[in-house]
Symmetry: C2
Subunit: 233 residues, 2 copies
């Protein structure tokens, strides 16, 4: 339960109050919260800590401030499919229905901003721009899921890894370098592969000079065009 999390792990980092204009307002989640005067709370989660579980009531909507989050589903025998990685700025845990449909965990030490879902929905019932924004965010997640179904159903291992690298490059590259927050197993569970296959694909791309590795999780893309050629359309 989130209540426990607040009480046991995150109590020290709680910051209650209206989001002020001093905070980065680079996206609409903040803009909404700011504009309509919603109460936003900031929480911290440690590496590997669960944020919410599958089928739990969706009490809050989250936005990553720093760190990284994975959302996934499990089969009863432990097979895992990660649906998405959530990086700084991303909103996750937004549900139209009553409960979360995936489990969310912090991959590394992570700070998130949360807004109560009920109050957000109340605002959406008054302000059509907020309602439109909630729909657009869910629609954006659907777009990602549709692209990912194509990857999982039809792409080869090498194509999947190329797609992954280009996605991460777009989302978290700083000065041409990526610092991946997740391990090989997470990447495999996102791409529908084993960690060994991910590792082999990365090694091969490295040997071809398409990427540089300075530490397993520090990756530099040296030739994006060749990577795009490997990735099927």
């Amino acid at each position: 339960m989130l209540t426990q999390t607040i009480n046991t792990q995150a109590i020290n980092t709680q910051v209650r109050g209206k989001i002020g204009s001093a905070l980065p307002a680079s996206d609409q989640f903040v803009a909404i919260a700011d504009h309509v005067g919603l109460i936003a709370t900031e929480l911290s989660y440690r590496k590997e800590e669960e944020i919410y579980g599958e089928d739990e009531p969706a009490e809050y909507v989250y936005q990553v401030v720093s760190g990284a989050v994975r959302t996934y589903k499990l089969l009863s025998d432990g097979r895992r499919q990660i649906g998405a990685f959530h990086l700084p700025g991303d909103v996750f845990g937004l549900e139209s229905g009553a409960s979360h449909r995936l489990t969310a965990e912090a991959i590394i030490e992570t700070n998130v901003r949360v807004v109560n879902r009920a109050s957000l929905e109340k605002v959406a019932g008054i302000d059509v721009h907020v309602a439109r924004k909630l729909w657009a965010m869910t629609s954006g997640q659907l777009r990602h899921a549709e692209d990912h179904m194509l990857l999982l159903g039809r792409k080869t291992a090498m194509e999947r890894v190329a797609t992954f690298l280009l996605e991460m490059d777009r989302r978290l590259a700083v000065a041409g370098m990526m610092a991946l927050p997740m391990c090989r197993r997470d990447i495999g569970d996102y791409l529908g592969l084993t960690l060994e296959t991910v590792s082999r694909a990365l090694s091969q791309l490295h040997s071809q000079g398409i990427l540089g590795l300075s530490g397993a999780r520090q990756i530099e893309l040296r030739n994006r065009q060749r990577l795009r050629n490997i990735d099927a359309l």
Copy 2:
């Protein structure tokens, strides 16, 4: 272009006007159209006919009246991933953004009801219940996509086919029988398998007495519980 479709194939079946209460009002799409007085048009598509293409402007929102529709993405070399099958009552082609992200085709002779997206959005800007409903419909599609990612990324061939049969049973069984509108290739492209693998899995389930076949597309589930046991969680 849809305009062409209207002019060439569907002109005879066009029915312009406010949806009346005499039509089945079992779902909210009709309820919305009825309530707010939107103009709904009914169109027909022949077997294999395209309804809209990937990246085309999303001018209309569709609801299946009769028949069946597949929505899919293609890779440049022709590999195809079907994201969903749309059966009578289902809404498809609803986009929050400007364009369609998958191609839609009629699988068999199909009748659909269409509503202009711009006018629907205009209504959503006034009536919060309509706005809420649009969000909920997109959210429902996201739920399906999340479940399907788990299937495509982590389930075995037999598990995928079991999941498929249970889904179709739920959605189109009449008196314990299913009349599948789609061929084995479509099923394969939905499940991330080849048509041969789908066929083999069905044959095996048949030989185990779990399903009855009267014609390749007429399937009777004889033991849903065993099918649920085969389907991982």
